[in-house]
């Protein structure tokens, strides 16, 4: 799964710590998500999207082609 979290955060000029506090997680969690090392569960994905005023699909992009319709 790809994420636009780092870009969106930069646009808002927020630090990782500020975003982490806004959604109630640790800074390590934000770092891992931004680096693509950790995929958040749905509630956290929604919280992150809401923090930027976006839908989940605008923040996280699913890349598994096997689920696409033929």
């Amino acid at each position: 799964m790809k994420t636009r979290l780092r870009v969106l955060r930069a646009e808002k000029e927020w630090t990782q710590a500020q975003l982490a506090e806004a959604v109630g997680v640790s800074r390590q969690a934000i770092i891992a998500i931004e680096n693509g090392k950790y995929d958040p569960a749905l509630p956290l994905a929604f919280k992150l999207a809401r923090a930027f005023g976006k839908n989940v699909e605008e923040v996280f992009v699913w890349e598994d082609d096997s689920l696409q319709e033929k």
Binding site: T15, V25, Q28
Partner: protein, 132 residues
Amino acid sequence: MTTTTPRISSHPARAFWAVLGIGTAIDITAGWLLRQPGYSPQARVLFALLPIPMNLVLVALIVRRIRQLDEFLRRVHLEAVAIAFLLSGVAVFIYGYLQQAQVVHPLNFGIVWIFMVVFYGIGYVIAARHYR
């Protein structure tokens, strides 16, 4: 948006260290009492079981703290526990063979937890590095 950095509250940490301190004192006292001659078998069983209550409180505090962590940190700690569990199993397995080979003393179960803590530390480093 506020600018304060999220951090672990020091209050649960203080409770943890207080319980750990009291528990350690009880462990040492129980060990000392068990080394003293003249006590009945019933009393010795009581001394041996003395550390249980504080140890259970410690377990409860740790479980509560883990439940307060966010989903990412819970995953890191879960992987650390899994790694520690497996490494402890391997270590006990190897030690058992070494014991059969009569090249080591019989295992002192009182110190096994030290290895578990060390393995947990190793597991935490491995898990944390994986997600960095």
